[in-house]
Symmetry: C2
């Protein structure tokens, strides 16, 4: 058992709230600060992509006994529904029984804060943290950046304050602090598919719906109330860009031409399109994540990624799993706990950043590509027969808790093999043959 | 002729001062702010690497008629003097008459400020800029970050305030601003070789001296007063690291063993080693560099690089050359001037960052490698005979004003060719033969 510490968490988002529960269970005093009002008392913002909870997320929730409470607000999606202009394809995500789970970010965040409060964490909303003194874990809080500040000293501070973290901002000013932020040239906009009058879903509720169109795409994830939260991803500038969709008529014409089957299910298209903000997508990396035994960054505050693998929250929750493992291993030696935590997580955070970046191409372009779908079919046949020899990359990332860095490395090796397989003569007709199977076995042996 | 503008430059370093001269010649009012005292009235800091002025630097100085004033404080270095543990090799940098020029940063900075003042620029020292309002080019100046600030409004502000630029700091807070900073695990320390009693140099004054030792190295560049400014580059941690050199005896023993011929010429070794600070090396990239027609970054403020190609100042000066070209082309359209300036410079800044990063390996390891020296000899023979077909990478970077990005691309292609040439049988004996010459001609044709 650890000696109780007085710990501040900055950020009452998903990672901050779950971390609070873990730290409370370990016996610590936990204060959570957030610059925003209590999300339980406000409307959602209309700029969120629905979450896709998968294995790593569930593991972290179950590790502290709150998984089942969250399952009540989750909808399983066991396949992609791929809306081509003229047809609809389905592609299973994994084996029978494997699924990712659609959850509204707002609903989940409200629930997590309830759970953290129930576990004894104390929340302080509308408290703006402007700075932190690293050496003695002191928060500087005030109404405005240039106004008067109040000081709150803790034993330790966790920065769970997201991609634009103030805690990291202070750490960045240290010498030898590596940092990068890179914005995609693609923005996104939230849209909505309402429920049918009887409360049922207008599209298959157990699918992750994609309209892949190359440089842009539309996705839709189901909600409990029968609606879907849709997200349009599109370049800011150039051909087929957000800049081109200047008025209601242009938006309607664009959707009618490119997403014809979406027209009847998105009745508020034109209104929502101009009401909802356009959001940006950033990949942020940094190191170190910890300062002595005083400060640590966690979740998006130290590794913000683009959303195309659905792993942002899952990766943040896995940070907590690993931090908790280090707490079990190193007792009261917080310097070692934090240092081993960052050492373990950094290469995996980098790997999921890379995988997420690449996956935009997979979702927006490859899911509409016959060769890619053929590759997936070949992999599935082989993987069904030799489950120990071939776990597909998507499954390694989504349905396992093996390190992301391992998934990236093995995925690259598998891809090299599949490129060779797809070059086989007549692969379209022999894809399900012993010849292909033997070829894969042989190529696996060569490695 | 442009309409006169009221322009502030933040930073009175080399780039800020030269930019001031260009802007004064174009008829603008120029105020230069610096948080530090006037460098003409203080001692130098003991943390500077001597500058190596080369073609791009001279071009920018000559473009505004101040090259000759700077030549008075410059010492030509036409070769590397490579100090192996048991012998001394020389390697010419370019063709007959080509040289890089050693200049003390402090001396040059003093001279540039004198020249800028003579051109009518007004300097304001010990003025701390804490923030800038991008939209109306207003500087916020005050004694302390949290104290009272004064506002100064300009038509335009240039941020020439170095790798840790406050002007960039504000630009970083914009959405869609790409940024990265990456520190080397190598630090550096300034040392000194004093002049002989008669004022002559203890080592050949027209050489860039290197003691290449793999993961670490020592360099020495000549000064006008007969001394050399030396720089030790070394990993912070691990084997043969700065961390290991904990006391005077360890430092002396390390130098005696690894730099035996340095012992008699660095008499103050142990004292300087502990008196002088250890400095860090960072590569910083960002984009955009400009905000509308109001703000632009220049020099290290938008592209800080590691010093191993001797191009930091040269690249900063070349920014000014290009900015001036755009001023000639686009008259009073400052939005286009700044936008074309950043478009032209960004890929070249990225290229010299990459080349500089790679060159640590070349300096510290390859200059001690027989194979590398052989490659350089083969390139020289071929380049002497076919000067239009083969300009070595070093010469493209140092003795030309063709874009850095082009140098990087051609350099990579040349390297591929040389790798193949070095694999030829008996290359050590046939390196100067028609066979090798024909092989290179053939490989060049294939490309």
């Amino acid at each position: 058992m650890q000696t109780p510490q007085k710990i501040a968490i900055v950020g009452s988002g998903l990672v901050g709230s779950l971390l609070a529960i873990y730290l409370r269970k370990a016996g610590h005093t936990v204060h959570i600060y957030d610059r925003s009002p209590d999300i339980r008392q406000i409307e959602f913002s209309g700029r969120s992509i629905n979450l896709a909870m998968s294995n790593r997320g569930w593991k972290a929730l179950d590790g502290v006994g709150v998984g089942d409470a969250v399952r009540q607000i989750a909808i399983p999606m066991d396949k992609r529904a791929i809306h081509l202009v003229d047809k609809l394809n389905f592609q299973a995500y994994g084996q029978e029984g494997e699924a990712i789970y659609s959850i509204s970010r707002g609903l989940l965040n409200r629930k997590m804060i309830d759970l953290a409060e129930a576990a004894g964490a104390e929340f302080f909303f509308e408290q703006k943290i402007w700075d932190v003194t690293l050496a003695d874990a002191t928060l500087h809080i005030g109404e405005s950046e240039r106004g008067a500040w109040e000081e709150k000293k803790y034993d330790m501070v966790f920065g769970a304050d997201g991609a634009f973290s103030r805690i990291r901002h202070r750490m960045q000013r240290q010498s030898m602090f590596d940092y990068s932020q890179e914005f995609l040239k693609i923005g996104y906009k939230e849209l909505n598919i309402p429920a049918n009058p009887d409360g049922t879903h207008k599209l298959d509720p157990n699918s992750f719906h994609i309209w892949p169109r190359g440089e842009y795409m539309l996705i839709a994830l189901p909600n409990l109330d029968g609606s879907f939260t849709c997200t349009l991803f599109m370049p800011f500038e150039g051909d087929n860009s957000l800049a081109e969709l200047k008025d209601i008529n242009l938006v309607k014409a664009f959707f009618a031409k490119n997403f014809p089957d979406s027209i009847e299910v998105i009745p508020m298209l034109a209104e929502d399109f101009f009401k909802n903000p356009t959001s940006t997508l950033v990949t942020m990396k940094c190191f170190p994540w910890a300062y002595e035994d005083k400060i640590a960054l966690i979740g998006d505050a130290c590794h913000a990624i683009v959303p195309f693998y659905g792993q942002g929250m899952n990766a943040g929750f896995e940070d907590i799993t690993v931090l908790n493992e280090m707490m079990q291993l190193y007792g009261n030696d917080w310097k070692t706990i934090l240092s081993e935590y960052q050492k373990s997580r950094k290469p995996n955070a980098d790997a999921i950043a890379e995988l997420s970046y690449r996956n935009f191409m997979e979702m927006s372009t490859k899911t509409a590509d016959e060769k890619f779908l053929l590759q997936k079919k070949i992999e599935k046949v082989f993987s069904d027969k030799y489950p120990d020899l071939w776990i597909p990359l998507y499954s390694r990332v989504t349905f396992s808790d093996r390190p992301y860095a391992e998934a990236l490395a093995i995925g690259d090796a598998q891809n090299t093999i599949m490129e060779e397989v797809l070059r086989m003569d007549n692969i379209e007709s022999i894809w399900d043959s012993a010849e292909v199977e033997n070829k894969i076995l042989e190529l696996l042996q060569d490695k």
